[in-house]
């Protein structure tokens, strides 16, 4: 799933800085696309001595005026004489912008994107094959993050941060309901959620659209199911295990009613998803470490714990993160590689840690004080070695955010029975995977 912007401002369009380009773009139509593609490449007017680079990232990382990433770019320029211009786009629009600019012949030299989008960009040859450059350093990163950026044997991006999904539970609400410990199994979770639901309070949180499909995968894996078959050409999530998991997941809302109906509006940002938990209207939610900083900002006094997701037949969670790649528009890939390898190196881990409270995708982070000194981070870092990355197939974005998001939408809008929606989605996904 694209990691959505997590700047905490409540409503969907959280980014105060939706650029003029963004608005223009939304003006829609194919014609507008061409015009924008043409102006995509004038962002990199840096005046470095040895050269200049442009980096596009979501506003989560790029920030508005200043950000840790911009500061790091400044440090690099001061040290190496290569200026790096950082440009931010709303997380939901980033890939559209990158695609438009690159197919139009312009665009940035470097992109920082959610790793689940790397296969699509790599297969489209919008990213440069970095296999030979990454190979010597690949052991420094979590294997899952490298695998997620590898499609058909070619690796297209260097891992930046790593994340995975865990369960957050509200200690105060649990205490009031007389529940002493967070759930460790599906049955525990359902029982707790039911006890925690009453009046305007609900036990568990879900998301709509792509947020719903993204958060379904751990349930599938926990029930022993698989997303795709081993060849990566056929959907496997419609297995008996998949159907059982899908039903359990959907019924949290449909029949058990332990989910606030307002989750139907969680279509645009993680902020929308986090809000009920932050305001203590929901007692539990599954999310990655990108939810931690907004919670701390929005409700500093919130007492919550972080534990691994409840297990069923087995425990499992989903691995993701952000990765840095060099685009087809880069005139000097060596110059771009110089910056990328510096940014993802051990010395720059503090940029992610201090600036974003994120866990670097480097294995050496496991023993660091940053991780061991924080119980929540410890859970995430421990899971990073066992968490499963999503299939690295070029059509992944379309399957997760198109096919599965639509299927989930039909289920929660009660337009289709869960089993039928899942079966149809599997057929559609298989069709896409076969390239027809």
């Amino acid at each position: 799933m694209q990691e959505q912007d997590t700047g905490a401002q409540g409503s969907g369009f959280t980014q105060g800085r939706l650029s003029r380009r963004g608005v223009l773009f939304a003006a829609g139509g194919i014609a507008a696309t061409a015009v924008l593609a043409a102006c995509g490449d004038n962002g990199g007017m840096g005046a470095g001595k040895k050269g200049s680079l442009t980096l596009w990232a979501s506003t989560t990382f790029a920030g508005a005026g200043s950000s840790a990433l911009r500061k790091a770019a400044g440090d690099y320029a001061a040290k190496n004489g290569v200026s790096v211009t950082v440009q931010g786009f709303p997380a939901n629009d980033l890939i559209d912008k990158v695609t438009t600019a690159l197919t139009g012949g312009g665009g940035p030299d470097i992109v920082l994107v959610d790793v689940s989008q790397v296969p699509q960009l790599g297969a489209s040859k919008m990213l440069v094959d970095l296999t030979s450059r990454i190979k010597p350093i690949s052991s420094q990163f979590f294997a899952g993050n490298i695998a997620a950026a590898t499609v058909n044997g070619a690796t297209y991006a260097v891992p930046y941060d790593t994340n995975n999904v865990a369960l957050l539970w509200n200690k105060k609400m649990f205490g009031k309901a007389g529940i002493t410990a967070p759930p460790t199994t599906w049955d525990d979770l359902l029982a707790a959620a039911r006890r925690l639901t009453g009046g305007k309070q609900y036990g568990y949180m879900l998301g709509a659209k792509g947020y719903g499909s993204f958060l379904f995968w751990p349930w599938l894996l926990q029930n022993g199911g698989q997303i795709l078959d081993s060849s990566g050409t056929k959907a496997a999530f419609n297995s008996p295990e998949g159907v059982e998991a899908w039903n359990f997941y959907a019924n949290l809302y449909l029949t058990q009613k332990v989910v606030p109906p307002t989750f139907l509006g969680v279509t645009d940002s993680w902020d929308q998803y986090i809000q009920p938990f932050m305001t203590e209207r929901v007692a539990m939610m599954a999310i990655g470490d990108w939810g931690i900083a907004p919670l701390a900002k929005g409700n500093p006094g919130l007492e919550y714990g972080v534990v691994p997701l409840p297990k069923h037949k087995q425990s499992a969670t989903l691995l993701g993160g952000n990765s840095v790649g060099i685009t087809s528009a880069a005139k000097d890939p060596d110059l771009a590689w110089g910056f990328i390898s510096w940014l993802t190196g051990a010395a720059q881990e503090k940029v992610l840690q201090d600036g974003y409270k994120r866990i670097p995708a480097r294995t050496d982070v496991t023993g660091s004080a940053f991780v061991t000194g924080d119980p929540a981070r410890k859970v995430f870092a421990e899971q990073a070695t066992t968490a499963k990355s999503r299939p690295s197939v070029p059509t992944w974005g379309d399957i997760e955010w198109g096919v599965m998001a639509d299927a989930w939408d039909l289920v929660i809008q009660k337009k289709k029975a869960p089993e039928k929606a899942l079966a149809d989605a599997a057929a559609a996904a298989t069709k896409k995977l076969s390239g027809k």
């Binding site: 608005v23 939304a26 829609g28 194919i30 699509q120 489209s124 279509t267 939408d409």
Partner: protein, 315 residues
């Protein structure tokens, strides 16, 4: 002209072909002066259209960069057999028609109000056009906040007054999403229609009103027999622009629902966008755009035919 020719002496008649030729030659330089602008326009307007038409016949999927080839009508066949297209066309029709009717009716009412000699008319006129001049993104931000199911003022008011017991999910419920979007779009664009109609109203001569009054025409009769015929051209223009703008209005949908929930607000523009940016399939996206193009061409031709036809029969 014809009259002068007839009155000319016969000797001139023999020279006429030369005059015509010279006249033609004289026209030529104008085109040269216009050429830079025309070429620029052709590049900016023509090229993307031609390129989109061309793309719509190509297999052009970004994730298969080496598989581009001429695909004939495959894209069209594929989107026409996809159930998504039919519902998108239906939503586009509903969206266009509802916007047209609401905006024309409300816009006309507003224009009549703005045309009155009221105290503070200048202020009223400025206030009315505010929704139209506010950027779409700001409109989206403000309305999404106002309509937020839990923290939005609208639902707090409704639940507070006991009008509803459970908070309506305006944009997340498939039964309310489209009507809400139509109302929002009407809110934003009606001022534009009102301004066009107001300009029309100002051209209706006062004498006609006075004459009608002398003939004993009441308010309604004057509206029907003086005002509406007098601004027919403005109504036609406003209607055509409204249809065109609404059907092409991508912001008004994408910024609120992205075509959801469960496809209930998917129109041809959002569908084309999804094909291009979720599926990375530019060929099929272009074929949807072409279908939209044809759709608009037919709609506006029919519209012209109806409006012009009526004009012909009456005058």
């Amino acid at each position: 002209m014809a009259v002068t020719h007839v009155k000319r002496p016969a000797t001139n008649r023999a020279e006429r072909p030369a005059t015509v030729r010279r006249r033609r030659r004289r026209v030529r330089p104008h085109w040269w002066y216009l050429a830079p602008a025309l070429i620029l326009m052709a590049g900016v307007l023509g090229y993307p259209v031609v390129d989109a038409i061309w793309t719509s016949f190509q297999h052009n999927v970004l994730t298969h960069p080496d598989a581009d080839h001429f695909a004939g009508l495959d894209n069209y066949r594929s989107v026409l057999t996809d159930g998504a297209l039919l519902s998108a066309v239906w939503h586009t029709v509903v969206w266009g028609a509802a916007n047209l009717v609401l905006q024309l009716v409300l816009g006309f009412a507003l224009a009549l109000l703005m045309h009155q000699r009221l105290a503070g008319r200048a202020v009223f006129r400025s206030v009315v056009i505010i929704p139209w001049v506010v950027p779409s993104i700001v409109v989206a931000l403000v309305w999404r906040y106002l309509l937020d199911p839990t923290s939005g003022p609208l639902n707090q008011l409704l639940t507070g007054l006991g009008i509803v017991s459970t908070s309506p999910q305006w944009l997340a419920d498939q039964s309310t999403a489209m009507p809400v979007l139509i109302l929002l779009s009407t809110w934003k664009w009606t001022p534009f229609v009102a301004v066009i109609l107001l300009a029309g109203l100002q051209t209706v001569p006062k004498e006609l009103h006075e004459a009608a009054m002398l003939d004993g025409a009441g308010r309604i009769q004057r509206l029907r027999y003086v005002v509406i015929p007098g601004i027919r051209t403005s109504i036609a223009l406003a209607g055509l622009l409204t249809v065109g703008y609404s059907i092409n209005n991508f912001n008004g949908i994408w910024m609120f629902t992205k075509g959801g929930p469960a496809g209930s607000t998917e129109t041809l523009t959002t569908l084309a966008y999804r094909y291009a940016f979720t599926e990375f399939d530019l060929g099929r996206a272009a074929s949807i755009a072409m279908i939209l193009f044809a759709f608009l061409l037919i709609t506006s031709s029919v519209y012209f035919y109806v409006v012009e036809g009526r004009k012909g029969s009456k005058s």
